[in-house]
C-alpha cells in the first residue's frame, strides 16, 4: 500500500462523490496537515487540505463532522469552507477540497510583521468589521470556531475584505473539537483548564485579534511578561493565571515595555476613547479572571461602525485620523489638536452609543439611515463644509425630515444638502434619526 501521509505530484485522490482530483503543487504545511493545489479533470482548480490523521483522536468522527459542516454550508462568503471530502478508507489519511485563495489577500501574520500595510483607515476598519461579521454569522449558525488565531485570516489591504480559512475545527455549540487553540489567543479560562472552548471563549479570541489588528501588539504582553524563555509555566501565567492588560486603567505594572512595545502607546492613543474603553472592558480583570462582561460580537460591530464614521483627514497635515465626536483629538502625525464643531447623536444600538463627528468629509453609511441595516459599506451621507457652516448631503435613497428646535420641519430629497444647526433633528426614515449636538 502506498504511503499516503504525504501526497506527491500527479497523484490521484478520489473524492467521496466518486470524482478524482490530481495533485499539482504544494501550497503550505501546518501542524495539522498539508495543503495541496489540485485539479479536476475539467481543469478546475481547488485546494486540498490533507490531514496528519495520527493527531486525530477519532478520525471517523472528525470525518463525519466535516461532512455535516459541508452539508450545512458556509455561514457566509468570508469562509473558505470545505466543499467535498475525499473518500474515507478506515485507517488511511483523508482531506477535503475547498476554493483556492483568490489574489489580493495577505495573511494576517504579514500585517503583524509590518510586511504589508493597510491602504486606508477605512480598509482597516472594514477588515475588523468583516471579521466580526463573519464570526457573528458563524455563531448565529450555531457553530463555534475554537481555534481563532492569527493564522486563520487573510485580509485584502485595499478594501478590507476578509477570508477565513482553517475551518476544520468549527463545531456545533456544546461539542468539542479536541482542539484547545493557540495559547496567545485562548481565553484565560481555557488556558487555566477551567473550561473548554465555546462561543464565549471565541468572543475573547476575537477581542485579541481586534486588538492586534488595531494596536499591533498582544494585549497581555507587557513589561512584566518578558521572560527569557517561554515555557508552559510562563505561558499559563501570562495568558491564564495572572493575566493583566497592558492598558489596564488601575494596574500599570504590565504597561508596554518601552523598547519592545515602543509604538504601542501611539497606536493606542490613535484610537478614539470609545474603542479604548471597549478594549478595556474586553481585557478587564473581571473578563480575564471571571469571564464576565465581555463585549459581544454585536457590541464590537456597533463600536466599529462608529469608528468608521469617525475617519476624517487632519486639516493641518492631511493624514487620516479617527476623530472623537465630543473631545479634542491629537493628530498622531503633526501633533496638533483637532476638535469637531459638534456631532450627530443617533439612538444607541445594542446599548452602544452611536455618534458621528460633524467634520468635513465624515461619512454616514446605510447603517445610520436604517435602524435595522448592517451595511457599513454603502455611503449614505457626507458632511460638507463651507465658510461658517456645515451641511449634510443626502446620498441615500430616502427623503429626510428635518425638525428645527423651534418646531419647523423641512424635507430633504436625495441629492440635497441640509445645513446643520444646533439641536436640529434629522429623521432618516426606517426608524433612524439623529440630533445635532454642538460641542462647547
Amino acid at each position: 500500500m502506498a504511503n499516503f501521509f504525504r501526497l506527491t505530484k500527479n497523484q490521484h485522490v478520489e473524492l467521496a462523490d466518486g470524482r478524482t482530483v490530481t495533485v499539482t503543487d504544494k501550497l503550505g504545511e501546518g501542524g495539522q496537515g498539508i495543503v495541496y493545489r489540485v485539479r479536476f479533470d475539467t481543469c478546475e482548480e481547488r485546494a486540498l487540505k490533507w490531514f496528519f490523521i495520527g493527531y486525530l483522536k477519532d478520525p471517523q468522527k472528525f470525518y463525519s463532522r466535516l461532512q455535516k459542516n459541508i452539508d450545512d454550508g458556509a455561514p457566509s462568503d468570508a469562509f473558505l469552507w470545505p466543499e467535498q471530502l475525499t473518500k474515507y478508507v478506515a485507517g488511511e489519511p483523508f482531506g477535503y477540497v475547498m476554493k483556492l485563495y483568490p489574489q489580493g489577500y495577505e495573511s494576517f501574520a504579514k500585517f503583524l510583521l509590518a510586511k504589508v500595510q493597510p491602504q486606508s483607515n477605512a480598509a482597516w476598519v472594514n477588515a475588523a468589521l468583516n471579521i466580526v461579521d463573519a464570526f457573528k454569522s458563524l455563531h448565529n449558525k450555531g457553530y463555534n470556531y475554537q481555534d481563532l488565531n492569527d493564522g486563520n485570516f487573510s485580509i485584502n489591504p485595499t478594501n478590507g475584505k476578509v477570508l477565513i480559512c482553517d475551518n476544520d475545527n468549527v463545531v456545533p455549540y456544546g461539542e468539542e473539537s479536541g482542539i484547545l487553540g493557540k495559547a496567545r489567543y485562548m481565553a484565560p479560562e481555557v488556558v487555566r483548564g477551567d473550561k473548554k472552548p465555546d462561543t464565549h471563549t471565541d468572543e475573547f479570541s476575537l477581542a485579541v485579534v481586534l486588538f492586534m489588528l488595531f494596536v499591533g501588539y498582544h494585549p497581555l504582553e507587557g513589561k512584566r511578561t518578558n521572560f527569557p524563555v517561554l515555557t508552559t509555566k510562563y505561558e499559563k501565567r501570562i495568558y491564564g493565571e495572572n493575566p493583566l492588560f497592558i492598558f489596564d486603567e488601575q494596574d500599570k505594572s504590565n504597561a508596554p515595555h518601552e523598547t519592545l512595545h515602543k509604538y504601542a502607546p501611539a497606536m493606542w492613543n490613535n484610537l478614539p476613547s470609545f474603542v479604548r474603553k471597549t478594549f478595556q472592558r474586553a481585557f478587564s480583570q473581571e473578563s480575564l479572571l471571571e469571564g464576565r462582561n465581555r463585549p459581544l460580537g454585536q457590541d464590537w460591530f456597533n463600536v466599529l461602525v462608529r469608528l468608521k464614521s469617525s475617519i476624517v483627514r487632519c486639516p493641518f497635515c492631511g493624514e487620516e485620523i479617527f476623530l472623537e465626536s465630543d473631545a479634542p483629538t491629537t493628530c498622531y502625525n503633526c501633533k496638533r489638536s483637532i476638535k469637531a464643531a459638534g456631532y450627530l447623536k443617533f439612538k444607541s444600538r445594542a446599548s452602544q452609543e452611536v455618534t458621528a463627528p460633524i467634520f468635513r468629509d465624515a461619512v454616514l453609511y446605510d447603517y445610520h439611515m436604517d435602524s435595522s441595516s448592517k451595511d457599513f459599506l454603502t455611503a449614505a451621507a457626507v458632511v460638507l463644509e463651507k465658510p461658517g457652516k456645515f451641511g449634510l448631503k443626502n446620498n441615500s435613497r430616502s427623503k429626510w425630515i428635518v425638525t428645527t428646535p423651534d418646531g419647523r420641519t423641512f424635507t430633504r430629497q436625495p441629492g440635497e444638502t441640509q445645513v446643520l444647526v444646533a439641536d436640529c433633528k434629522i429623521d432618516f426614515g426606517n426608524g433612524s434619526s439623529a440630533q445635532v449636538i454642538v460641542n462647547n
Binding site: 504511503n3 501542524g31 509590518a114 493597510p118 481555534d147 488565531n149 501588539y217 508552559t232 515602543k262 492631511g318
Partner: protein
C-alpha cells in the same frame, strides 16, 4: 497616508546544528549534508515570513579535530543571512563530540552565550548529525550539557549516518523517537531536511493540537517532535526525486 503599523516583537526560536565533519564524512555524505542545509534554509526563511509569534535564528557548529562555530560565534543569525554567506563544509580529522557538547553548553546561556534576546526565546532546536564513534570523552561533555536548562527544554533531534553510534545519539536526544538513521547518501539529504524542517516548524509555530495524553509533560518538546516525525512522516525509504519531494 495612514498611520504606519509597527512590527510585532517576536520571540527567538534558535535552531542549532551540530554537524560531524570528521574525515569519514568526506565525499558523498558531506555533499548530502551541504545540499540538505542549502535546502533547509529557504524553508526556515519561509516559516519566518509567516510567523508573528517566533523568529527562527540559526547557529551551525562543526566538530572534527575540535568544535568550531561556523555560524553563531557571536550571535545567532537569520536563515536569510546564513543562506547568503553559506560556504560548503569540508571534512577532516576526528569526531570530537564531547568538545561539541561543551562548546554548545557554553553558548546556551543568556548571560555569556548567544541566548540573549530582548523579547525572550522559546525552546531551541538542537540538531545533531554524526557518522561515527566519538573520539573524545563525549560522556563528560554530555553530562555538563544535560545540566543546562536550555538543553532540558530543547527539541533534541539527531540523524545518524553509516557507522554512527545509535545509543549515543539516543543519549543526546533522550528520546528514541527523534533519532533517525540511514546508510544511504541520497536518503541522508532527505532525512536531514525532514528532521530539521519538522522540528523547526514544531518549535517555532507551537501547535494548536491538544496532546493525546493529558498527563504528558507539555514542556517535553522533544516528545512533541517525536510525535510529529511519526505523524507527519513521508516514506523515508523511498528514493524521492527532489522535483517531486514537496
Amino acid at each position: 497616508m495612514v498611520m504606519k503599523r509597527p512590527e510585532i516583537p517576536r520571540k527567538m526560536c534558535p535552531v542549532i546544528f551540530l554537524l560531524d565533519t570528521s574525515g569519514s564524512m568526506d565525499g558523498a555524505p558531506l555533499g548530502a549534508v551541504n545540499r540538505a542545509i542549502e535546502n533547509v534554509l529557504p524553508e526556515l526563511i519561509s516559516m519566518n515570513n509567516d510567523n508573528p509569534d517566533n523568529e527562527i535564528k540559526v547557529a551551525v557548529m562543526t566538530f572534527d579535530y575540535d568544535a568550531k562555530w561556523i555560524v553563531g560565534e557571536t550571535e545567532l543569525l537569520s536563515p536569510d543571512d546564513v543562506s547568503k554567506s553559506w560556504r560548503d563544509l569540508k571534512a577532516t580529522g576526528y569526531t570530537s563530540m564531547g568538545a561539541a557538547f561543551r562548546a554548545l553548553n557554553d553558548k546556551l546561556s543568556v548571560s555569556h552565550g548567544f541566548m540573549q534576546r530582548a523579547s525572550g526565546s522559546v525552546a531551541p532546536v538542537l540538531f545533531l548529525l554524526s557518522d561515527g564513534e566519538p573520539t573524545d570523552d563525549y560522556k563528560a561533555g554530555l553530562q555538563i550539557l544535560q545540566q543546562n536548562n536550555w538543553y532540558k527544554i530543547a527539541v533534541r533531534v539527531a540523524v545518524g549516518y553509516g557507522e554512527a553510534n545509535y545509543d549515543i545519539l539516543r543519549e543526546f536526544t533522550g528520546n528514541e523517537g527523534t533519532v533517525l538513521h540511514t546508510n544511504d547518501t541520497d536518503e541522508l539529504k532527505n532525512t536531514i531536511r525532514f528532521v530539521a524542517v519538522t522540528s523547526s516548524r514544531v518549535a517555532s509555530q507551537g501547535s494548536s493540537v491538544s496532546p493525546d495524553d493529558p498527563n504528558a509533560n507539555p514542556d517535553d518538546n522533544t516528545q512533541t517532535v517525536a510525535n510529529a516525525l511519526q505523524n507527519q512522516g513521508g516514506n523515508l525509504n523511498a528514493k524521492l526525486d527532489p522535483e517531486d519531494d514537496f
